[in-house]
């Protein structure tokens, strides 16, 4: 018995064939993973199941019955719920209000807040989805926002739940919690569609896997009968190196240094506390840590986006604390920000404007006050070719690229400025295995060209495979410095939870 059958679905966008006769069959009560490269058409397919897009061709069956889903309202009625890749929450409303929005309980003419809170609490307890019902969305961490999204679907009685890349923004602990919740939902008879780029996650949680590539289905696999290498091959169409190998490379002089840096967060609390370290040319320094331990503020301070309370920042020996982002860029600093939508690109701008942001005011892209569009177009075409941004359309709007391709645009833009020092935050968040391999190679190439690189990542795998030195951050402080070849994931894990290196070594 299939809960969901999408048969021969075709979906075109101007100039893009996003889904090309895609057929997916999902059994009732299973966790069905959908994997595929960035831009393969996964989100597009799911959006059609949820009624946000409408298929150009093809049929959809829910529990064996043919349906036409005109909008989210129809989908909700059919028991379908979706947690979107980019959350759909109203920041200024409370958790309870967000959950019930659109199907609010009422008492007479009034909205029944009490009942809303009550129902949210009940759902939250039933499935172990801990949330603070009265907090505003803007004040709660991403992990909780995601739980709110899941509660939203349950509140509407969803039996088929779509999770579009739910783990991309979560810490490893939060991923474990999410899996726990997913198992509970499954035991409760719910059907789950799960999208992820992390093959080990797919291996751990799913029953079956549909692999997509360039808008087509390239494989349907039983999880118990496959392995990550095989999945990756279906995804990319070739063998993928899941972990790039790093050539030894002798670092040169110090290019960047911070001393006793103190930075506050938005609430005025100390987020970075007395941090000192340096980065040499041709060296990758990795900063590991659970999200929310001051990494964001540290990066913002270094790149001139946040003012520092005290301490020093040196670039090639020169004090640069208080410099604006443009001044820092002109010195040769580049920044790949952790949140591509907030700081990385402008959704309403065409790809070519996004590609030259930050260099838009100077040669060869501008002569005085005027933009030189010929040069901009040429440069954009080259860059999109080199970084394999899909679709290869320079006038595609930033917001219309798939998540992973947005990331490639940003990475490409920053790397192509030929920086001397590169700050890279979560460079592969939401990227497919092929793209990760590619970006890791790019970062290593920068290293071999003697660029100093500061890498901030929540992915320990990434930190270990790229870094020459690893600093572990916890509650705004550096717990210690280790070399990847002289430490273990366990040791770094201990430091990430607040043990200084000496304690961690003692075990």
């Amino acid at each position: 018995m299939y809960a969901v059958e999408m048969v021969n679905i075709v979906k075109r966008f101007p100039g893009v064939l996003a889904n090309d006769h895609v057929t997916v069959r999902v059994k009732k009560g299973e966790i069905h993973a959908i994997v595929g490269e960035n831009g393969a058409g996964k989100s597009t397919l799911m959006n059609q199941l949820y009624g946000l897009y409408h298929p150009d061709e093809g049929e959809i069956f829910i529990n064996g019955e043919k349906v036409v889903i005109r909008g989210p309202k129809d989908a909700i009625k059919l028991g379908i719920g979706m947690v979107h890749q980019h959350f759909m929450l109203v920041d200024t409303l409370t958790v309870a209000e967000n959950v019930v929005l659109g199907s609010e309980p009422v008492k007479g003419l009034n909205f029944d807040m009490k009942k809303a809170r009550q129902e949210v609490k009940e759902l939250s307890e039933k499935y172990g989805l801990f949330v603070d019902v009265d907090a505003k969305i803007e004040d709660i961490p991403v992990g909780m926002q995601q739980r709110v999204e899941i509660i939203k679907t349950l509140y509407r009685g969803a039996n088929i739940i779509i999770l579009d890349e739910p783990t991309a923004v979560l810490t490893p602990q939060e991923v474990e919690e999410l899996f726990e919740i997913m198992r509970k939902l499954k035991n409760d008879g719910k059907t789950i569609l799960f999208i992820s780029h992390k093959l080990h996650e797919v291996m751990e949680i799913s029953n079956r896997i549909t692999v997509m590539r360039l808008g087509k289905v390239t494989g349907e696999l039983e999880t118990s009968k496959t392995n990550p290498k095989e999945i990756a091959r279906h995804m990319v169409g070739r063998d993928v190196v899941l972990r790039v190998s790093k050539e030894p490379h002798e670092p040169k002089d110090v290019i960047f240094e911070i001393k006793d840096l103190v930075v506050k967060d938005n609430r005025g609390l100390t987020a970075v506390n007395d941090v000192s370290f340096n980065v040499r040319k041709g060296e990758i320094v990795g900063i590991a840590g659970v999200a929310g331990n001051g990494q964001t503020e540290l990066v913002e301070a270094i790149t001139g986006l946040r003012k520092i309370e005290s301490g020093h920042i040196y670039f090639e020996g020169k004090e640069v604390a208080g410099f604006t982002p443009r001044q820092l860029r002109e010195l040769g600093m580049s920044h790949i920000p952790e949140d591509r939508l907030k700081h990385g690109l402008i959704e309403e701008f065409e790809a070519y404007y996004n590609i030259i942001l930050g260099q838009h005011y100077r040669n060869p892209f501008a002569n005085g006050a005027f933009l030189n569009h010929n040069n901009i177009f040429k440069y954009s075409e080259d860059l999109m070719e080199e970084f394999d941004v899909r679709p290869r359309k320079i006038d595609h709007l930033g917001g219309n690229f798939s998540g992973g391709n947005q990331q490639k645009l940003v990475v490409g833009r920053e790397i192509r400025t030929n920086p001397k020092f590169l700050v890279v935050a979560q460079p592969t968040r939401g990227l497919d295995v092929g793209a990760i391999e590619f970006i890791h190679k790019q970062i290593l190439k920068m290293r071999s060209l003697d660029v100093g690189i500061l890498l901030i990542s929540m992915e320990l795998e990434e930190i270990f495979s790229l870094s020459d030195r690893i600093l572990v951050m916890y509650e705004g402080e550096i717990m210690g410095e280790v070399k990847p070849e002289e430490t273990t994931i366990e040791e770094v894990g201990l430091m990430m939870t607040g043990h200084r290196i000496e304690e961690a070594r003692r075990g």
Binding site: L52, V90, D91, L93, N98, L101, F111
Partner: protein
């Protein structure tokens, strides 16, 4: 010294407070209109034009029927009609809301100016056509001081406060209000929950027509009983400032309107004070007080109030 004494005398005179309320009344109505429209995400600077048209329509129908309340009702109808154009252009066709609003102001000014001759036979100002009588509330009117302020005044003043209470309830206590706020903040999220984003926005904009229409009716048949060209005199913009200062909240907008009302009442009373002499050359400066206050408020508070995130951004659905 004489100036301080004059100021003191203004503040202990109940008339100052009564004028504050009557000056605030059109601002309260119009700023409510702004709140309804903008919390659903549609910038509505057309308020100024809607007020002007409302003032005109109510005079026309009062003159035709001899009944001021029919005039008031028709002001609301004309307000909704003009607001509908704004809704249609900015919601259905995703037009630029500031451009549309400006166009509607110019249209309202054009229509009312043009129709003066054919209807009333002369440009500039109409004759007296009738006026909503002040309402005397027996017990209340006899209380010393307070009675002089609210015991006997225009029914519009009471209606304005009732409208604030109603709007606060609607926006913060009902499911419609919750949906209005969600649509102005994140229309995409509302859409994924099956909420009709366009419908809610239409409601917000049309309601702004109701309130701004009432504001206009007050200016003409509510206060003076005639229509004068361009008589809205920038109040639609001051109302927008009140809305911002009031943080897009009906009660806040009311308090801000009262502040603006007080500033014009103050200017008015100082000019008629016998202690100081306000020459004709200085008078325009006094009349500027509310506008100067507006600039200070907008410059000082815009950053601090929470603007609905999708305010002014048309919502366009995907294929």
């Amino acid at each position: 010294m004489r100036v301080l004494e004059a100021i003191f005398l203004v503040f202990i005179n109940p008339l100052f407070y009564k004028i504050t309320l009557t000056a605030a009344t059109p601002l309260i109505f119009a700023s409510l209109g702004g709140v309804y429209s903008e919390i659903t995400g549609v910038v509505n600077i057309a308020l100024e034009g809607i007020m002007l048209l409302g003032a005109f329509t109510s005079v026309v129908f009062t003159w035709l029927t001899g009944n001021v309340w029919i005039g008031v009702f028709m002001a609301v109808v004309s307000g909704v009609a003009l607001a509908w154009f704004h809704a249609w252009g900015s919601i259905k066709w995703a037009g630029n809301q500031v451009v549309l609003g400006t166009a509607l102001i110019l249209i309202a000014q054009g229509i009312t100016g043009f129709l003066m001759e054919p209807i009333f036979g002369k440009p500039g100002q109409t004759d007296f056509v009738g006026k909503v009588e002040e309402l005397r509330i027996p017990g209340l009117a006899d209380i010393p001081f307070l009675g002089k302020i609210i015991g006997e005044t225009s029914p519009f003043v009471y209606m304005a406060f009732a409208a604030v209470a109603f709007s606060w309830w609607l926006i913060y206590k009902t499911k419609l209000g919750l949906r209005m706020r969600s649509v102005g903040e994140n229309p995409e999220a509302a859409d994924t929950l099956g909420i009709n984003v366009y419908g809610i926005r239409y409601f917000g904009v049309l309601m702004s027509g109701v309130w701004a229409g009432l504001a206009g009716a007050y200016l003409s048949v509510g206060e003076v009983g005639h229509f004068r060209e361009l008589m809205s005199g920038g109040r639609g913009f001051i109302a927008l400032a009140a809305m911002i200062l009031g943080n897009y909240n009906p009660v806040g907008a009311m308090l801000a309107s009262l502040l603006f009302g007080a500033s014009s009442a103050f200017a008015n009373q100082m000019q008629s004070s016998s202690l100081i002499h306000v020459s004709a050359t200085v008078k325009p400066l006094f009349d500027m007080i509310p506008f100067i206050l507006t600039i200070i408020v907008v410059a000082g508070f815009v950053g601090k109030s929470h603007v609905p995130k999708a305010d002014g951004v048309p919502y366009e659905k995907e294929a």
